[in-house]
Amino acid sequence: MALPPHASLGEKSWHYCYLIICALIFLFLIAPILVIIPLSFNTEPYFTFTYEMLTFDPKGYSLRWYDNILTFGMAEPDRPRNNAWWDDVWANAAWFHAFKNSLIIGIAATTFATVLGTLAALGLSRPEMPFRRTIMALLISPMIVPLIITATGLFFFYAAAGLAHTYLGIVMAHAMLGIPFVIITVTATLTGFDHSLSRAAASLGASPVTVFHKVILPLILPGVISGALFSFVTSFDEVVVVLFVASYDQQTIPLQMWNGIREQISPTILAVATLLVIVSIALLTVLELLRRRSERLRGLSPG
């Protein structure tokens, strides 16, 4: 991207302008996410930087909002912090309850979406697959159709089928929403897949199951895992469907946040948000490592 030595003055100034514009856009992208992190350590219940915070006075910073994540919803938050107190957290703390639900629903939905989605992607990537484009379009559409419409449809359907206010109902809905991501990532991996590898294995006497385990799966695994991650994040982040078809029992973190933002925007929300940003960073790292591994592996097959 370096400028050639013969660039004119106009070109040079335009080039620096362009770099500044890009820097500002990157700032726009990342600053809103970073700004909540220091604010979540605010001593005061405000959404803005206090004088103490700006002068790096330790008095301006505290962990009270992180503590509040644990105590919110507890029966007796003021008791001494012994085992009984932690039992109370486990049983009653609202954010904890939401976190457990998000995890259960996310893992179950991801498992479901990944298994079915990977199988389907294997079928869809074969050239002989009939009605390939139409079926593909249908399977991707949950990602495209506005969530409010999907949620409205599920609301009526689940009411009639007795799936409203059940874990199974939410898991199925979230699996359905995660499937497009699995399909897209796995088929993308399979387009670079050299089919002669599986033919070679078959000609050497491997059964189709062995071929799948020993040849296909290791190669498409990065795609499968990143699809699974996408579908987990979709479930972990989804609020509209939960809003429509869940009851308190299935309250998830995004729903708890939605209620929190509408009812009492205390910096507790920022503390939760900060923790979620850390989770995203972790996921992003995993994904990046997978991508590198995938590139290395694919380098093996001429393709």
Partner: protein, 363 residues
């Protein structure tokens, strides 16, 4: 192969966790409005009831507990045993067959033996609902932000030249239209007559129009004091108890203007097909008896729906604030007060909300 096993065991683990969703016997779910209001019910009703009966009670919040009832009953999958709803919703849902009827005779008498029917404030018992509190929509201001002369009448709320600054209002037709008419000079007795005519609705919306660009809309009850505290608005309409709590427990400089308040009941109802109907009824009987109703006033400034409770209303939980003058029903606060006409709203809610939404959405 390892991955498959992992996947299989994860599925199995999740499968084992699923039955946790079913409610064990002896537990009821009570849905209410959240924030300080739910807290006051937890202290005055939930905890004493659990201590007395040994049953468990789960408290759930919703920005409007009326909405999930219809959804759940129509779906035939009811998870709420008791809900705290607005008067007009209690009447409307009862007519739509969405609620279990409650026999007024089964409610406990007052301590002096007065029957429940005579003890409740007139209208406090309907076919399917039992009132717990009298609450009101008032407007409040931040005394620190308004220097000099303070607002005193409902007209001041709509006067942005005298009192500049943003206004918070509930996003809905109810109470806003009435307040607009009162501010426009309509006498309390005539408000619903005027609002019943097309010209009256135009007049009310016209009054709202005069401050439209300054309005910040809120939806959940806890948002109103939040908007004031955050400095997003200088005045807001609010449920009176929320403002009282912010002012007294959190020492916020909030003041209530009672002029032009709109009074309403809140009702306990049992959705049709509630999983624990008998326990739900037992809870309602307990919660709406004389003492617990009076106890709730210890935690929030809403008036008890039984006359016999008034004698027991004492000090706020801080042990020094006398509650009586903070009740919407205190004589000094009733000088220019409107009682919500539930019949009117049952008839006109959908029409007026439609008009209101169209008005609000138009730039």
């Amino acid at each position: 192969m390892k991955t498959l096993k992992l996947v299989a065991s994860a599925t199995l683990a999740v499968g084992l966790l699923l039955p946790a969703a079913t409610v064990s016997a002896g537990e009821i779910t009570v849905m209410s409005w959240g924030g300080a209001y739910t807290k006051s019910q937890v202290e005055a009703y939930h905890k004493p009831w659990m201590a007395k009966t040994g049953h468990k009670l789960k408290s759930v919040d919703s920005p409007n507990p009326g909405a999930p009832i219809k959804a759940q009953v129509t779906a035939g999958k009811v998870s709420i045993d008791v809900a705290d709803v607005e008067y007009s919703d209690a009447v409307r849902y009862c007519d739509e067959g969405l609620l279990e009827p409650i026999d007024a005779k089964s409610l406990p008498s007052a301590i002096d033996g007065t029957s429940a029917e005579n003890d409740f404030i007139k209208g406090g018992i309907t076919d399917c609902g039992v009132a717990n509190i009298v609450w009101s929509t008032i407007f409040a201001y931040d005394a620190d932000k308004i220097k000099g002369e303070k607002p005193k009448t409902i007209a001041d709320f709509f006067n942005t030249s005298k009192f500049p600054g943003k206004r918070g209002m509930r996003k809905g037709a109810k109470a806003n239209l009435e307040m607009a008419l009162m501010a426009d000079g309509v006498a309390v007795a005539d408000v619903y007559k005027v609002l019943g005519s097309t010209a009256g609705v135009k007049r009310a919306l016209g009054k709202l129009d005069s401050i439209k660009s300054d309005i910040v809309w809120w939806e959940a009850g806890a948002q109103a004091p939040q908007l004031l505290a955050d400095g997003e608005v200088v005045m807001t309409t609010a449920y009176n108890g929320r403002i009282f709590n912010a002012a007294v427990s959190e020492n916020k400089p909030f003041a209530i203007v009672w002029d032009g308040q709109v009074l309403d009941f809140d009702m306990f109802v049992i959705p049709k097909g509630a999983p624990n109907k008998a326990l739900a009824l037992d809870f309602i009987k307990f919660a709406t008896s004389t003492k617990p109703l009076a106890d709730q006033a210890k935690y929030i400034a809403y008036g008890p729906a039984r006359k016999s409770s008034a004698a027991f209303v004492g000090l706020f939980k801080d042990g020094k604030t006398k509650m009586a003058p903070h009740m919407p029903t205190a004589p000094a606060n009733l000088k220019n007060a409107l009682v919500n006409n539930f019949e009117f709203w049952a008839d006109n809610a959908s029409e007026l909300n439609e008009r209101f939404n169209a008005w609000i959405a138009a730039n």
